[in-house]
Amino acid sequence: MSKAVYMDYLATTPVDPRVMEAMVPFFTSIYGNAASRNHQFGWEAEEAVENARKSIADAIGAKPSEIIFTSGATESNNLSLAGLWEMYKEKGNHIVTLVTEHKCVLDTSEYLQREKGVDVTFLPVKEDGLVDLKELEAALRDDTLLVSVMFANNEIGVLQPISEIGKLCKERGIFFHTDAAQALGKVPINVEDLGVDLLSMSGHKVYGPKGIGALYVRKRKPRVKLKPIIHGGGHERGMRSGTLNVPAIVGFGKAVEIAIDEMEAETKRASKLRDRLEQALLKELDYTQVNGNLEHRLPGLSNISFNYVEGEGLMMAIPDIAVSSGSACTSASLEPSYVLKALGLSDELAHSSIRFGIGRFTTVKEVDYVVQSMVKGVQKLRELSPLYEMVLDGVDLSTVTWQHH
């Protein structure tokens, strides 16, 4: 391999060449402000935006008027939580979410808790990463305003039971938001079937450009309104001001169209590659496990712990392969991934994890090369590992008193 192998498609994706092609005219030829009502430049830009809006609406079974554009899923998540609460705070002051949500949902929840006095319940998850529906139901109160549960988890790929949660919320008149950044274009989504009221989407997770996202805001049964968190000219039906990023929107629309078109075939292909990678690694290496529910997860994602070997050290053994680790050696707190900890993983296993994200451009050759490199790397580091040595000697690591400092 002369070039580095990219296997971190959950972190971001390259812009698909077809998406790039669709975007280019909107930088230098069709460059009008989509809000310019008075001339051709504006009208053409607006038309392109509305076409993209329709593509995205179609992708999730919504109406175009229910889609607003944002700068990304982070903004969409912020808007969903803070914007909804601002609008309906008289209705209820309680939010229910999961401990495994993306940082932007957790942080926004904590902000509302700290600064606005909102009561937030952060529900734990089961060992496989799925929420316990009974526990969720028990957490719902008369003053619960919103439930926010992510569709597909970015670290372990786990798919939550969205339609069941939607049903629970509908029965109680509770708003339901889902962060679908990792799910869009990878698994089928229909907002009616799922019973969601708000759904966040991201461009750069689906072979579109970075810096663009969208939010589905239900218009009927019930009609959902949001107070904006970005104020200005009242764009996007007053919910998100700011000149629209036309080229990025066009790219996002095209990316979603392609993803929906190719979803069935791509799911098969990605799953096959992921299974090939997983099975080979589990076969060659002992004390190795896959994290998260094996059935309800994204195709193409595999989160694997290689016990007794530290994640960052392991990534150094594969310098020409791009993956990410659940180890937080560099973060000041020295704590491993909170998602993996939420699964009940021991600290060693959480520090020893690698997330493999297979995507549209991953080849069989790359998968085999990654397997080879990982096996070599793990074996080399296990030779260096005092923990592995102790385990082979029959020591139960959980009984050891470690000397902290």
Binding site: Y308, E310, C329, P336, P386, L387
Partner: protein, 129 residues
């Protein structure tokens, strides 16, 4: 984050990987760190007449942690016990050009050295009894 050449060198060609007989009277073993921090170092030294004649290490941790402990074994070999006590974590930081966020790796290596030296001392004291 870019690693220094020296860290990469130690990582790719670690010196003195392995184990000494921890039950031997002249072998000192220091095990420091904890799995939950993502860093565990085992450092062992073989002492003869107050001089460290061999040193071995095994480390669970990132590249900087591995390099710090590998370097430690290199420095320990040939030193007297007293000379070994003078090794400071800042020496390791300087030699490997560790960034601020990796300084704790050098501190752990210094701890491991002291723990191994202490173990040798404890064993010697016990023999005297």
């Amino acid at each position: 984050m870019a690693y220094s050449d020296k860290v990469l060198d130690h990582y790719n060609n670690p010196r003195n990987v392995g184990s000494l007989d921890k039950d031997a009277n002249n072998v000192g073993t220091g095990i420091v760190g904890a799995p939950e921090c993502g860093d565990v170092m085992k450092l062992q030294i073989q002492v003869e007449e107050d001089r460290i004649v061999d040193a071995k290490f095994k480390t669970y941790g990132c590249g900087s942690a591995i390099a710090s402990s590998s370097l430690a074994t290199e420095w320990l070999k040939g030193k007297t016990v007293d000379e070994a006590l003078e090794i400071k974590n800042t020496d390791i930081v300087d030699e490997l050009q560790l960034p601020p966020v990796k300084i704790h790796c050098s501190v752990l290596a210094e701890d491991a050295i002291r723990a191994a030296l202490q173990d040798v001392k404890d064993k010697a004291d016990k023999e005297k009894e």
